[in-house]
């Protein structure tokens, strides 16, 4: 058994470094689908997050509670609901989206929207409340002031985007149920890892798992580095600081 794992691992590395077309295709599709899902979730989630983070209105607490509760939605349950929705008998069955990358993008976007909304809303809430007033006193309109607050919360926004993408690319339930893991069409990293492991094709599964871990950790690390760069003092080392 131990030898099989080592052999599988070595073969996996060979698949990665030789640029195996199947590995590359599946990886590229996973990034494309999850990247698109993240952008879609930002498109509809950002205005909601800004509204929840900046405005005070009746029902705000309930709305926030809803998105927080949806953070832990089981992916298989959501996958099933969306399957029923997209299937021929479902309300949008006529669109023929089931088992297409579009359905996977929509499914993942819905799954990660609570992360996008809750994290960005919290990031906005953590910004000094005077920033909005400050922007206004400097001549900003309501929209410009909201953008200023959003800029101030950019660390939290980046964190939300990273977490959303990571959740999307690492999830299995939704893409499996609405994508179907069709080779050369809807197979992505997680679905192929699951399928190949069941088939006993351990090398391909390990190769894809390594790539998945690499994507997730590299993205997180890169975002952390960008954040660090942003918060680092701008003074050049060795440069004399002017004194009054």
């Amino acid at each position: 058994m131990g030898n099989e794992i080592i052999e599988g691992f070595l073969k996996a590395l060979q698949l990665i470094f030789s640029g195996d077309p199947t590995v590359m295709e599946i990886s590229a599709r996973a990034v494309l689908v999850s990247g698109s899902a993240m952008m879609l979730s930002v498109l509809w989630g950002l205005p909601v997050a800004v509204l929840l983070g900046l405005k005070r209105f009746p029902g705000r607490f309930l709305a926030k509670g809803f998105f927080n509760a949806m953070l832990g939605i089981p992916t298989v349950s959501l996958g099933l609901i969306l399957y029923l929705f997209f299937s021929n008998a479902g309300p949008v069955g006529f669109l023929r989206l089931l088992y297409t990358p579009t359905a996977m993008i929509i499914g993942q976007a819905i799954l990660i929207t609570p992360i996008t909304v809750s994290f960005i809303a919290s990031a906005i809430e953590s910004v000094d409340p005077e920033i909005k007033d400050l922007a206004k006193t400097l001549g900003a309109s309501e929209t410009e002031a909201a953008i200023a607050v959003l800029k101030e919360s950019s660390n939290g926004v980046f964190l939300a985007l990273t977490a959303s993408f990571n959740r999307a690319i690492a999830e299995l339930g939704v893409v499996f149920m609405v994508g179907g893991n069709i080779a050369h069409l809807t197979s992505v990293l997680t679905t192929t890892i699951a399928l190949e492991t069941n088939k006993g094709e351990i090398a391909l599964a390990i190769a894809l798992a390594i790539i998945l871990l690499f994507i997730v950790s590299t993205l997180t690390l890169t975002v952390n580095l960008i954040q660090r760069q942003k918060t680092r003092p701008i003074i050049e080392l060795g440069k004399k600081i002017p004194r009054r």
Binding site: D133, L134, L138, G139, A140, S141, A148, E152, I235, P242
Partner: protein, 353 residues
């Protein structure tokens, strides 16, 4: 001078709390006015209404004779700006902080660069463009906030306790800059302050606010002519003591304020008087002081308030004295609650109400 901001019968309530009641006052073009009053008297709310950040519950505000409402509020915000008590800065460089308002006004890069250089020189922070604004000291941050406001060449500058909680050196720079701006640029300035002396230094006219109402409008000196009871309710007038005064014959008087404490004051007046001394005029030492100061007392620290660059201490020396020292001095003297300290202040620092 014609009025630039006219407030008529302005009231503001938050739920059951009334912050302002029937405020009617005009602020004249090019004039420096101050809103005097203790914490919670409504100064900040009034400034926020004037800055277009809050809507009054009732009453009317006019800017250059035009009624202020939703239709023109954005235009008025381009002519007015406010510097907050708690310095609000964007988490970026000094340059970008100052550039924000200029970009909104569509200034070119060259104009922006020139303007920023000019205002940083005005607030004596030349060469600070690239520094992260939030890493500066409290006083420097407030000067950046002031520079950011000055860069906009606005008509009305509103300042909410601009020098509260910053060290005396920065206070003096900010006061100098405000006087210069009013003189050179003819900017209308309204300063909310609890500090009567600051009002006296900066403003020609002061409005005393107590519990959301204007009690008096006049020259800052006139505020002192109000009945002592009104001034006593002005809680932030720290170190005020009442007692019986006796003339010493050396051009001064000794005021017996009780608890075995006598304060030498620079006037010849017998009878009941109320005197006070500014916290920053009291010298504090951990060792006995040898100085020319006519008033020196020994006491113990009973309370410490850390205000960032400065520390406020309550010292029990017969009576309670509030003393303000820099954080650095506080650390160097290794002071703590119950530390034995020595206070000294000149007779000339004692003022009478």
């Amino acid at each position: 001078m014609k009025p630039i901001i006219e407030l008529e019968n302005i009231s503001k309530t938050y739920g059951n709390v009334t912050a302002l009641q029937h405020i009617s006052i005009n602020f004249l073009e090019g004039e420096v006015s101050s809103l005097l009053g203790p914490n919670g008297s409504g100064k900040t709310t009034l400034l926020r209404i004037m800055a277009g950040l809050e809507k009054p519950t009732s009453g009317e505000m006019r800017f250059e004779s035009a009624r202020v409402d939703e239709s023109n509020i954005n235009q008025i915000r381009l002519k007015t700006t406010m510097v907050f008590q708690k310095t609000a800065l964007f988490s970026t460089s000094v340059y970008k902080n100052i550039a924000y308002g200029l970009r909104i006004r569509g200034c070119s890069r060259r104009e922006t660069d020139e303007k920023i250089k000019e205002v940083l020189k005005t607030v004596r922070l030349e060469g600070y463009e690239k520094r992260p604004a939030k890493k500066l000291s409290g006083g420097e941050q407030q000067r950046v906030a002031l520079a950011r406001a000055l860069a906009l060449d606005i008509d009305v500058l509103l300042l909410d306790e601009p020098t509260a909680n910053i060290d005396p050196k920065n206070v003096s720079i900010i006061e100098d800059v405000l006087s210069w701006v009013n003189k050179e640029k003819k900017t209308t300035i309204v300063v909310a302050t609890h500090n009567v002396f600051q009002a006296e230094t900066l403003a020609k006219r002061a409005a005393l606010l107590l519990e959301g109402k204007i009690v008096k409008v006049g020259a800052p000196q006139e505020i002192f002519t109000l009945p002592s009871k009104i001034l006593e309710s002005y809680a932030r007038l720290e170190n005020s003591f009442s007692g019986f005064s006796k003339v010493t014959g050396e051009g001064t008087s000794l005021v017996d304020v009780g608890d075995g404490l006598q304060i030498e004051a620079p006037f010849e007046k017998a009878g009941n008087v109320t005197v006070f001394v500014r916290p920053e005029d009291i010298i504090l030492s951990s060792k006995p002081l040898v100085s020319s100061a006519r008033n020196s007392f020994e006491g113990r620290i009973v309370q410490i308030s850390d205000l960032g660059p400065v520390v406020k201490l309550k010292v029990k020396a017969g009576k309670d004295f509030i003393v303000q020292i820099t954080k650095r001095s506080f650390i160097e003297m290794r002071l703590n609650v119950d530390s034995r300290v020595f206070l000294a202040f000149k007779a000339s620092s004692v003022q009478t109400i």
